[in-house]
């Protein structure tokens, strides 16, 4: 159906991102293809030992609650549970959360507002109001769960008219606010495959102004595995909301793996994270503050995961 309707059609899961965007005329699809009725998309199967498979249509509420997720993938439970409000989590899906449109406070506005200030290239216009000189859109990837999925090493299954493929979540995104998904419009994300937990320690910390409703203006996902001798065997640090895609901090691997985690190594990774964070002036709060917090939150998340004071 999607392929028939072509670019005029859009997929809707929970609709909690799509409908507000349609109301503000950021999206103007001619038709919608709903995934709600597809039962196969609503399942969570597997376990911590063999890995989990989460259907794209599973709601965020359902992701945040099961003990297997809370115990073995706490960062995921936390990230899903931190999305907006309980009402929204009852409808919003994990698939929709991974495909969430990028955000910018010049863009998440009504048609009249956007027309008044001058349309930007993400919709209806051709310049960027955040960085007018440049040729790209800097809208921010604002999904809470995307950085966590990357940190956990998860993959997604995409099914489209040209067949099926499984790609790491990391490869689902590209650094372009206007076109941030590598997925084709007619490809459906059907499930998320999370590798076995196998002693993984994961933490997610979210910066936002209020205790509910708010999108992250910084998210830090950390996943660590420590060997028997305390040396780090797996380390991933991924930042959310400070780029048009989740920002992977490669220094986490290069600095931490093979060594015991120390306050000094944590500090080095945190510094690297703050350097990589590219917040723009298009979300809540002040960008210099968000950059500073990338440092503080990365350090805190790493310490929490590593069990350091």
């Amino acid at each position: 159906m999607l392929s028939e309707r072509g670019a005029e059609a859009m997929i809707v899961a929970g609709g909690t991102d799509l409908f507000p965007n349609m109301k503000r005329r950021q999206f103007e699809p001619k038709s919608l293809v709903s995934l709600r009725a597809i039962a196969e998309l609503q399942r969570v199967t597997g376990d911590a030992d063999s890995g989990l498979t989460i259907g794209a249509g599973v709601t965020l509420a359902q992701v945040s609650r099961p003990p297997v997720i809370a115990q073995s993938y706490p960062a995921l439970a936390r990230a899903a549970g931190d999305v907006s409000t309980s009402q929204l989590r009852n409808t919003g899906t994990i698939g929709g959360n991974l495909c969430l449109d990028t955000r910018c406070n010049y863009y998440n506005q009504t048609y009249h507002w956007r027309k008044s200030i001058g349309f930007c290239m993400k919709k209806d216009g051709d310049i960027c109001l955040v960085a007018p000189g440049g040729s790209r859109c800097w809208a921010a990837s604002s999904s809470d769960t995307a950085p966590v999925m990357i940190a956990l090493g998860a993959s997604v299954r995409l099914i489209g008219p040209r067949g099926e493929r499984v790609i790491p979540v990391d490869e689902l995104y590209r650094d372009d606010g206007k076109d941030h998904l590598t997925k084709a419009a007619d490809e459906i994300l059907t499930e998320i495959l999370i590798p076995p937990a196998n002693g993984l320690r994961s933490v997610y910390l979210k910066l936002r102004r209020r205790g509910s409703f708010d999108f992250p203006i910084l998210g830090v996902a950390v996943a660590l595995r420590l060997a028997g001798d305390g040396a780090c065997a797996y380390a991933k640090v991924v930042l959310g909301a400070v780029g048009s895609r989740p920002v992977v901090v490669p220094q986490a691997e290069s600095i931490l793996i093979g060594n015991r985690i120390t306050p000094e190594s944590v500090e080095s990774v945190a510094q690297a994270a703050a350097r990589l964070a590219k917040p723009m002036d298009n979300t809540d709060s002040v960008l210099s503050y968000r950059k500073k917090m990338a440092h503080v939150f990365t350090a805190r998340a790493l310490k929490e995961a590593a069990g350091l004071p």
């Binding site: 409000t85 309980s86 009402q87 009852n90 409808t91 409703f213």
Partner: protein, 154 residues
């Protein structure tokens, strides 16, 4: 494009012939004359439009009726039973947890779902459960107390 929608609201069956893109909020208020459900943004940002769909608090402003045909919808009008208010309604009235009363239907619905899942919630659980409903009048304290009072009485 209009379509015939069948909805089950507060235990009664309704039919409405409405444009497919009309939200549940609009259909409830404009086509079924159930104006108890309120709106503060119609963008998912306030919780005033909360209704229960199969017992789960749901934002009616971001829900298409066509997607929830056949499911049980509960609105504030369905809380009282044969004219007897729900204990939450009595408690909200007694403690003045409704000032202007505009957020109240949504609050009550969220609170009902909470008490149905957890008859004796701790204060923090109440805060969590109702944190998706904004109120500009009360400062929330009386609302929390009213939920506690209703829980005590049940």
């Amino acid at each position: 494009m209009k379509q015939l929608i069948k909805l089950r609201v507060n235990g009664e069956d309704y039919e409405a012939y409405v444009p497919v893109h009309k939200t549940l909020l609009e259909v409830l208020r404009e086509d079924l004359n159930l104006t108890g459900t309120k709106h503060g943004c119609e963008l998912g940002e306030c919780g005033a439009c909360t209704v229960l769909v199969d017992g789960e608090p749901t934002l009616s402003c971001l829900t298409l009726p066509i997607e929830i045909q056949g499911r049980e919808i509960l609105t504030v009008e369905g809380l009282a039973h044969n004219g007897t208010p729900h204990p939450l309604q009595t408690a909200f009235a007694e403690l003045s947890a409704a000032q202007c009363g505009y957020c109240t239907p949504g609050m009550l619905i969220s609170a009902k779902a909470l008490l149905d899942h957890d008859p004796h919630p701790a204060r923090d659980d109440i805060r969590q459960a109702l944190s998706g409903n904004l109120c500009r009048c009360t400062g929330y304290s009386k609302i929390i107390e009213a939920v506690e009072l209703a829980a005590e009485r049940r």
